[in-house]
């Protein structure tokens, strides 16, 4: 069997080991390759930065634990950015599995800035019926969420007095790992209530957000772990936070992994075409 045929016959477990080693190595010994920043992440940062103190940023937590590495750092960085500027944060969710993640962020991040639940941050929880939830919130948030995730009636939360419906919210970021996600917020919140929407997405759905960016429906995009790393860098550079940046720390492994994938595709195709020529 020629060298190329042997190449093609490599057991896929070998490839698994190669990937595991190359991803683990930089986590232990950082290579310090750094993070390049693009215009789309800056657009989200500028939109959040423009929110006047006392006003509210809405974040929709529409992802699950499996997408945490890419999307959870975005949620944390956005919250740190708001709290550093005394902007209030309102969270809700369309994914049942996002409930636990939003709750974790709401318990861990506010104390870093001395912010209190009910005054500076509220988590409404998860609700079934995507379009019904968004459209309901457009008319009156209390209709959809009579009580927040922790069971407090909305009237008892000081922050919720001036935020009764979507029109009271200057900007929102939909952090979504698929459907339902930012497309639904555009389809229902923007088209009916003129909501300005930014999006944080898993890298897999980033390329498909571009038509909405070009048409002006989306105000900026955080694409995958790279988007999270870019936002973390922007938040730190503007002096809003000095905390550890998980997404930035992971970018070395990310870069190495990309190169490995490209090399694998090239070798795989070279071997494939070489064996085909021999066989013909």
């Amino acid at each position: 069997m020629s060298f190329f045929e042997k190449l093609l016959k490599i057991d896929r477990k070998v490839i698994f080991i190669v990937i595991a080693v190359l991803v683990l190595f930089p986590l232990l010994k950082p290579l310090g390759l750094g993070v390049s920043s693009g215009p789309r992440a800056k657009a989200v940062f500028d939109a959040v930065d423009a929110i006047p103190p006392g006003k509210t940023l809405l974040i929709s937590v529409d992802f699950d634990p499996a997408s945490m590495p890419e999307l959870y750092p975005m949620l944390v960085a956005l919250m740190r950015h708001c709290f550093a500027k005394n902007v209030k944060v309102l969270l809700c969710g369309l994914w049942i599995t996002g409930a636990g993640l939003a709750d974790r962020a709401v318990t861990e991040i506010p104390p870093e800035y001395g912010k209190k639940y009910g005054e500076d941050v509220v988590y409404l929880g998860w609700k079934a019926g995507v379009d019904a939830v968004i459209l309901g919130m457009g008319e009156n948030i209390k209709n959809v969420f009579p009580v927040d995730y922790y069971g407090h009636p909305l009237d008892s939360l000081p922050m919720m007095q001036e935020v009764t419906r979507l029109r009271d919210i200057p900007f929102m970021v939909a952090i979504s790992a698929g459907t339902p996600g930012f497309a639904d917020w555009l389809l229902y919140a923007q088209s009916r209530y003129g909501m300005r929407v930014g999006a944080g997405v898993t890298a897999v759905s980033a390329a498909d957000a571009y038509p909405y960016l070009q048409s002006g429906q989306l105000t900026g995009l955080l694409a995958g772990m790279k988007g999270a790393a870019e936002y973390e860098v922007l938040v730190q550079k503007n002096g809003y936070s000095r905390a550890y940046m998980p997404a930035v720390a992971a970018m070395d492994s990310q870069s190495l992994a990309h190169i490995v994938i490209m090399v694998l595709v090239i070798i795989g195709n070279v071997a494939f075409f070489a064996t085909r020529r021999i066989r013909r």
Binding site: G178, T179, S191, S205
Partner: protein, 370 residues
């Protein structure tokens, strides 16, 4: 109107000119005010006053000097009001005349959404016209999609080898178009497996799709004259959790070693797990989805991929079902209309650069959405 302008000229200081109207296209209880200053000297603030029939003037808003409009949402429908606007600069306020009487009322039609209504009506007419044609039995041409030859060839291969077929109707619900299209194709595939008596395994992720899929296969078997060959257990519900489902289907493909795998419907991140594991079992793989995110994997890892709407066209072409064909033709001509609008719209808009044809630039506003 004239009296106001004369008054302003003599006063030296510009008193604002005010227009009021019931806010259009709304649920009522709201009046829109616009005003301008004749001279450029900016006021430090603007105060808005409102008075009911014979009540006392009430200040409803004080805004920054640069503001030129305000929407008063604290009014009662059909109640007469008058407004005036005061330009405040270093201490004294110069009031405009009281506006004419205005009252708010809800509207029954939102004129700002006329463009949506027009496009809806046009597209409905197209779809219904072609569906009526299809019902009347008129022949509707749809070009053959390359992937379809593969579907029939792949089913033939499985029946020759006597190996099962795994048909994944996607992870979407009956509300997803791709799922409905997939269930149509499932019906066609089931008709063939009924004739050749080869096993057709249909793992489901959505409970309702599961019940519908079971009915579709049962009916296909009865239509093919083989109700006895129908095994309800082959169509089963796995779980609604996305990844538990992908792992379960992988386990199924590794255990059953099918000759052909179909992945038709709505897919998310688990598409790669299915396509790659399926490829390692050596099966022919036909994929089709309108989930744009997953198409790159199906295109590179499967033998044939129906891209986006080709899935809809395939279900219409395969089943020759007049209603599917009708709506497909309607969509086709809908697309043609979009292209015509984009091409001619652009042409006219570009021509609007020529001064005489300046009015063409208004075309862009037809596409505003509120």
């Amino acid at each position: 109107m004239i009296s106001i302008i004369l008054g302003v000229l003599f006063a030296g200081m510009s008193a604002p000119l005010i227009q009021v109207r019931d806010t259009p296209n709304d649920a009522g209880k709201s009046i829109t005010l616009n005003w301008q200053f004749l001279s450029e000297s900016p006021a430090s603030a603007v105060v808005v006053q409102r008075v009911e029939k014979d009540g006392e003037p009430v200040v409803v808003a004080s805004l920054p000097g640069s503001e030129r409009w305000f929407v008063d949402e604290g009014v009662i429908d059909r109640q007469p009001y008058r407004y005036r606007v005061g330009a405040v600069s270093d201490g004294d306020t110069l009031w405009s005349e009281w506006s004419e009487v205005v009252s708010s009322s809800p509207q029954f039609f939102n004129w700002a959404r006329l463009n949506i209504l027009v496009s809806m009506v046009v597209f409905f007419v197209l779809v219904i016209y072609f569906i009526e044609n299809a019902r009347a039995g008129r022949y509707l041409f749809v070009r053959r999609i390359a992937g379809l030859d593969a579907v029939e060839e792949a089913v033939g291969r499985a029946t020759e080898m006597g190996k099962p077929i795994v048909y994944v109707p996607g992870l979407g619900s009956v509300a997803d178009i791709a799922t409905i299209a997939s269930l149509n194709i499932l019906g066609e595939v089931a008709k063939k497996t009924a004739q050749y008596d080869s096993a057709l395994l249909v793992p489901n992720r959505d409970p309702i799709v599961y019940t519908v899929a079971r009915e579709v296969v049962k009916e296909a078997y009865t239509r093919a004259g083989r109700p006895d060959a129908f095994k309800p257990d082959n169509i089963f519900f796995v779980t609604s959790e996305q990844f538990a489902y992908a792992a379960a289907v992988d386990g199924l493909m590794v255990r059953e070693k099918p000759a052909t795998n179909f992945f038709l419907g709505t897919f998310w991140a688990e598409a790669l797990i299915l396509a790659e594991t399926g490829a390692t079992t050596g099966a022919i793989q036909i994929a089709g989805t309108d989930s744009v995110f997953q198409l790159p994997f199906f295109i590179t890892a499967c033998d044939y991929t129906l891209i986006g709407e080709e899935l809809y066209a395939a279900s219409a072409y395969l089943s020759r079902e007049p209603l599917l064909l009708g709506s497909l033709k309607g969509q086709d001509y809908g697309k043609m209309l979009i292209i015509i609008i984009v091409v001619f719209g652009s042409l006219l808009l570009l021509l609007s650069r020529i001064p005489q044809l300046g009015f063409f630039s208004k075309i862009i506003n037809f596409f505003n959405v509120s």
